[in-house]
Amino acid sequence: MADSCIQCGAELGVPPAFCHICGTIQPFRPELSLFAVVGLPASFDLDAQSLRERVLDLQKMLHPDRFAHADATKRRYSLEWSTRLNEALAILRDPLKRADYLLRAQGVDALGEQVKVADPALLMSQMMYRERLEDLLAAKDLQGLEALRTEVTAAGDKAIEKLGIFLKTLPCSQSAAAGAVLRELQFLDKLEDEIDRGEESLQNL
């Protein structure tokens, strides 16, 4: 059943935020998924660049700057759509957040506090990475940090590739295995952030 415009009754496109016939902004629909808001099918396989362009194209029509002179109701619709578009971009452009969002949609909370990481191999590699990071920072070894970053980024890319396989068909049938990869990726992302921060503090010395 297609949605229709509140103003002219014309059939709305995807997402149903804006009528392409009469140009009227439509009431916000909080129930729409982040994928529906940007007008894409729910999928892990997504090109960050085209997602960004898509969101910005939608922002050009829906951003509050376009409604600086509109009535209060339309300004509110604009604020709500625009806010949700920003949220969609932030979550869907990031492979970790995107995978987590897809797993949550099927009721799997892989990164929640109650999930205890019980993978000894992951724990071991985490400890080794951390020790290396601490040693490099103590030695103020910027080149070593760069090498470590390259390694961590490569490991992250591999984890994203694995997630792509697990999440190829949705809902994911191996959610436990996907959750384990997600936790690994979360660790790698945090580590990369720490490398960045460490590097920055060495540069600022």
Partner: protein, 621 residues
């Protein structure tokens, strides 16, 4: 200029049908107004041909007000009634400006709430003083345009917080201006450059004013200006260069620090030398402390560069932070734009070129560029073509809530694109708690005392439940001006409370810089403080729970158990008054272990009571 002349069919820009809009750069030392005239953004000049209006307001006898050059000239002889640099007071309270006030000749009214200055025309708030400047700019616009503008875009520093933005908006309203949008100064500069040069790609905007430094990273693509990150150091600016020269003069001339008048004179000469060195390779400086005691010195551009190196180096950490927040490397950038008078210094230009690995863009006058960008956006917002222009800005400082133990839980991190909303669930801490106080804060540190308080409000009427059972959902909504609304709702019952955050005064610029810097410098300290605060909350919770249980059911324990529990409890109390997180945690665990028999027996008896209760109810039916 081709991009600016594109017009939709039927929307051709007929000069008589164009809607008039202006952009205003309301600066610390000077202000100016610009508008898009015949498709060209242009600054407006007064009768003397000047476009810079000194941001100085003087209250005269007979309720007259003078603004600009005449007021500036009178600053020395009539300091109490002549207000300069009022931008530093915007959105501040009396307590916020105590540090600043020591150096200023103003008579501040010691009151709660918004700051007020005592003048011969009565007490004036910074909002009112700023409104005088805006009135003069508006009159210049009306005269130039031949009609009232429909709306204005006013620029604010990117790091301006809630209170400062709100105060700026209030001043514009007071001056009879319809504010279309508050725009970050670096973003405005990017708009002026991007549209003029038809540039695309990633740009850094390096903005060094008299007393503040601001760096923003933007992506320009197909008319969209997307701010990726912003950072700054608000206790750093061109004034610090003057101080560096003055120090050198004191050292070279062998004269002692001297009195404030002498020092002011040195600073004046330092500023003149700095400005002269933009054009000349060296300047003579003639020092005359008193008649007959004079000294001639020469300052070369090279020496000057060495003197200000420490000042220049201090801008780099913020540049690195902004790049990291944007997830970019220096080599990713397509251009660097310079804004602010202090960026005319040649040594600064070469440092920027070295750090960013490319010569900076300087072809638009750094004094005009912000106002020109504001004019372009104002033109777009009133509906004159430019359907393709879109500015996506970010929140400059993180927003959070106070949680137990004086900690701040960040809800929306800095550099989140706006508009933005975020909801977070909190729960009650005590059994039967029916109200919850919500304290909204802005800043990067972990502890409440280190962040800026924006607002407090209460959510009442929470149905009494056991601790941890209520679900309080707090939603933050930040609009496109960077202004905040907070609402809270208890999920199971729908009890709601909402507040539009309108603080009466805001953060001190220097305070923001300090907070940002400290958050990086004290990262480790914060982690241990956070652990201690968490351990204390947990320890107190254990004691409180035990207190409640003992009150009703102490009889369930025998004498030995009771003594054992008392000892553990006293130990925990002792630890809580200290500051060892590990000790508190261990002691709390010991209390819980000792209380286990009590917990077990209470549960048993509660079960029995429940069963008994039910049977009585059943009988009642």
């Amino acid at each position: 200029m081709a991009l600016m002349q594109i017009a939709e069919p039927g929307m051709t820009a007929d000069p008589h049908q164009r809607r008039l809009a202006i952009g205003i750069d309301l600066g610390t030392t000077h202000s100016l107004v610009a508008s898009v005239l015949s498709a060209v953004p242009t600054v407006m000049r007064d009768h003397a041909g000047k476009y810079l209006l000194p941001s100085v307001v003087r209250y005269l006898e007979n309720d007259e007000v003078s603004v600009g050059y005449p007021a500036l000239a009178a600053a020395g002889q009539d300091p109490h009634n002549t207000i300069a640099s009022v931008k530093r007071f915007m959105g501040r309270g009396h307590a916020d400006v105590q540090k600043l006030a020591g150096h200023l000749p103003y008579d501040l009214v010691p009151d709660e709430g918004m700051l007020r200055l005592r003048t011969r025309a009565g007490e004036k708030s910074p909002v009112e003083v700023s409104a005088e400047i805006l009135r003069v700019l508006k009159a210049l616009a009306v005269e130039t345009l031949g009609a009232e503008p429909e709306g204005a875009v006013i620029t604010v520093p990117a790091y301006f917080d809630e209170a400062q933005r709100q105060a700026t908006k209030d001043a514009a309203r007071l001056a009879g201006l319809q504010v279309l949008r508050l725009l970050a100064e670096p973003t405005a500069a990017a708009v002026a450059y991007g549209l003029d040069k038809k540039s695309e790609g990633l740009f850094a905007i390096y903005d060094l004013g008299g007393g503040t430094f601001d760096i923003s990273i933007l992506r320009l693509q197909a008319g969209v200006f997307e701010v990726l990150a912003t950072a700054g150091d608000t206790a750093l600016g061109g004034d610090d260069m003057d101080h560096a020269i003055a120090e050198w003069l004191i050292a070279e001339s062998g004269s002692p620090q001297g009195d404030p008048v002498w020092r002011r004179q040195l600073l004046q000469q330092a500023r003149q030398a700095k400005e002269a060195l933009t054009e000349q390779e060296q300047v003579p400086i003639h020092l005359e402390r008193e008649a007959g005691n004079s000294r001639a010195l020469t300052l070369s551009r090279k020496q000057f560069a060495e003197l200000i190196q420490p000042v220049l180096q201090r801008t780099l950490p913020a540049c690195r932070r902004a790049l990291r927040d944007a997830g970019l490397k220096v080599s990713d950038l397509d251009g660097v734009v310079l804004v602010g008078g202090a960026t005319r210094v040649p040594a600064l230009r070469s440092l920027v070129a070295e750090f960013f690995q490319q010569p900076p863009l300087t072809d638009i006058d750094p004094d005009q560029v912000v106002a020109l960008g504001a004019a372009i956006q104002a033109d777009a917002l009133v509906g004159n073509q430019r359907e393709d222009l879109l500015l996506m800005d970010v929140l400059p400082l993180s927003l959070g809530l106070e949680t137990m133990g004086g900690l701040v839980e960040k809800i929306i991190p800095r550099n989140t694109p706006i508009p933005a909303a975020k909801a977070q669930e909190f729960t009650t801490f005590k059994d039967g708690q029916t109200a919850m106080s919500i304290h909204v804060l802005q800043g990067e540190r972990d502890l409440v005392q280190d962040c800026r308080s924006l607002a407090r409000f209460s959510l009442r009427g929470i149905p009494p439940m056991v601790a941890g059972a209520a679900r309080i959902r707090v939603t933050f909504q930040v609009d496109a001006d960077g202004l905040l609304t907070v609402s809270a709702e208890e999920s199971s019952t729908g009890v709601r409370s909402e507040v539009i955050v309108k603080p009466s005064f805001g953060l001190d610029d220097a305070e923001i810089a300090r907070m940002l810097q400290e958050s990086f410098a004290h990262g480790a300290e914060d982690v241990s403080q956070r652990r201690l605060a968490e351990a204390r909350v947990e320890g107190e919770r254990v004691l409180e729970a035990l207190q409640g249980a003992l009150q009703s059911d102490a009889a369930l324990l025998d004498a030995t158990e009771q003594a054992c529990l008392d000892a553990a409890r006293q130990d925990l109390q002792q630890c809580l008054s200290g500051s060892d997180a590990d000790a508190i945690q261990k002691a709390a665990e010991a209390v819980e272990a000792a209380a286990e028999p009590l917990v077990q027996r209470r549960m048993d008896s509660a079960l029995q009571r429940a069963i008994a209760g039910r049977s009585i109810d059943d009988l009642g039916d």
